[in-house]
Assembly symmetry: C2
Homo-oligomer: 328 residues x 2
Amino acid sequence: MTAPTYDILGIGNAIVDVVARADDQFLSRHDMHKGAMILVDEAAAEAIYAAMPPGLEASGGSAGNTCAVAAALGSRVAYIGKVADDQLGRVFRHDIQAIGVHFPSAPLLGGAPTARCLILVTPDGQRTMNTFLGACVHLDESDIDTALVASAAVTYLEGYLFDPPAAQAAFRKAAAAAHAAGRQVALSLSDAFCVDRHRSAFRDLVAGHVDILFANETEITSLYEENTFEAAAEAARRDVAIAALTRSEAGSVILRGSETVEVAPKPTQVIDTTGAGDAYAAGFLHGLTAGKPLPVCGRLGSIAAAEVISHYGARPETDLKQLIAGVG
Amino acid sequence: MTAPTYDILGIGNAIVDVVARADDQFLSRHDMHKGAMILVDEAAAEAIYAAMPPGLEASGGSAGNTCAVAAALGSRVAYIGKVADDQLGRVFRHDIQAIGVHFPSAPLLGGAPTARCLILVTPDGQRTMNTFLGACVHLDESDIDTALVASAAVTYLEGYLFDPPAAQAAFRKAAAAAHAAGRQVALSLSDAFCVDRHRSAFRDLVAGHVDILFANETEITSLYEENTFEAAAEAARRDVAIAALTRSEAGSVILRGSETVEVAPKPTQVIDTTGAGDAYAAGFLHGLTAGKPLPVCGRLGSIAAAEVISHYGARPETDLKQLIAGVG
């Protein structure tokens, strides 16, 4: 086995976020479930956009965010995802490349526009997401360069990939290629509703093909249909080599074999929780691929998450390398 | 004279900002003059963008920002500006309409793309701007609806309009229509380099057609080619009915006839000074058109400016009506 060229290869839905402040009344008027991500078609996206307050546009996508944060931390990162050949597609490409991520995916020509996620941030910092997948639904097996997968220590997949049907095949192809090359596969469950939509596929995948699992409390209890976090965590411990489970203001718990590590959160003022889990995964994998002990990996995750929740948008706005200087 | 339908009609370059953090070395490597706005063509814009760190996209444009802030404060506002029929144009239209501004201008079809301003924000909070005017250069006299101008108490023009040649004619047509209807004309000088490029035209305009002048210290001293702020301010006092002159951390000075009002700035943590002057003008005009005394107008300007410099981007992110509750 040769040394990896990349620490992390992310595969995900390539999305530009449109972030706006909204109150709880806006969410109820539009039948939105606070904290969740729902898929909308282009017409619904236009209708929601028309009703939304002014927005800030920023590159997003769960795995895209993780890749951006990991690169900002100093990891060697590549990303696979589908944008269109339009202005928002160029914004996505610029941003992920500018932060140092290798992004070889060709844009979709003449089809659907680049995906958008309309994110309403309520005063409590929670985000409610409405995603128009656009060009993302054209990500398929042909986009998975198995040589690129083989060159990455960890292939990181976002659970949201289970929504566009063709991406599931891409997902499985990438996982198989990673293991064939002796690499590891990481999965983020993304969203409790996403887990609900695809529970049995997720259960099969986690048990059979995932080495490192990221989930928050509602996602992991939904995956295993357990009533308590503790019971779900024990189920995850049996299924995967490493489970990194986040619990918002209660920090995170990392399970590896019989080992259990509890990690305190980094206190910060919460403005917008968009990307918190993505950033945690980035910090964790940055530490793990550098051979750091689990408590350090968790601490790196907490620091990265604290940065992105302290401002609007899911990508870092400050110098992350400086923030983690001296950790571990 | 009938009562105005709008308090403020802004006319300006309709621009989407791309805001990124950069260090002083980035500015010198790209021969940028810190704090200034320069015009670039599409090729140069692409080259700068390619070299820039990841960005946040947000609607901008000097008068556009002023209109957005004034509407957020509760003023009745309309805006005239030229976007293209593209994704960034739709972002601009959405944002200004979503904040409550009437925006009747038709988009440019099949021509240049929507204008972009690539803004590099250095750690000292200063912004350095590179503007590709795109569709803005097609704003001309035909875009000025004189009935709309006549319906606004104040027609507010940004100095940057002197850069696209056809806009100068639009500028003069709007000023003439406002005065013919017994309304007032306000002008923001925008930028000391912009004043340098068009000094004699600005001098004629200010002396002959402007009632309310907004400028910062370097702009007003450049306009009158004076060495001191005091001398330039006295020249402005002779030329216009009201001059509202901002002095960064020294606050602002308002001159009306023999009256001189000094206004303290509102202390805040400076993250990005983009839009500080635009927001000050909005607060000031919001107060003035509501019949408030000058010290209150100045204080409203300071509060609005403090809000926009406390985060990335030139449009407000918090509830401005709440911020000014109880002022005056």
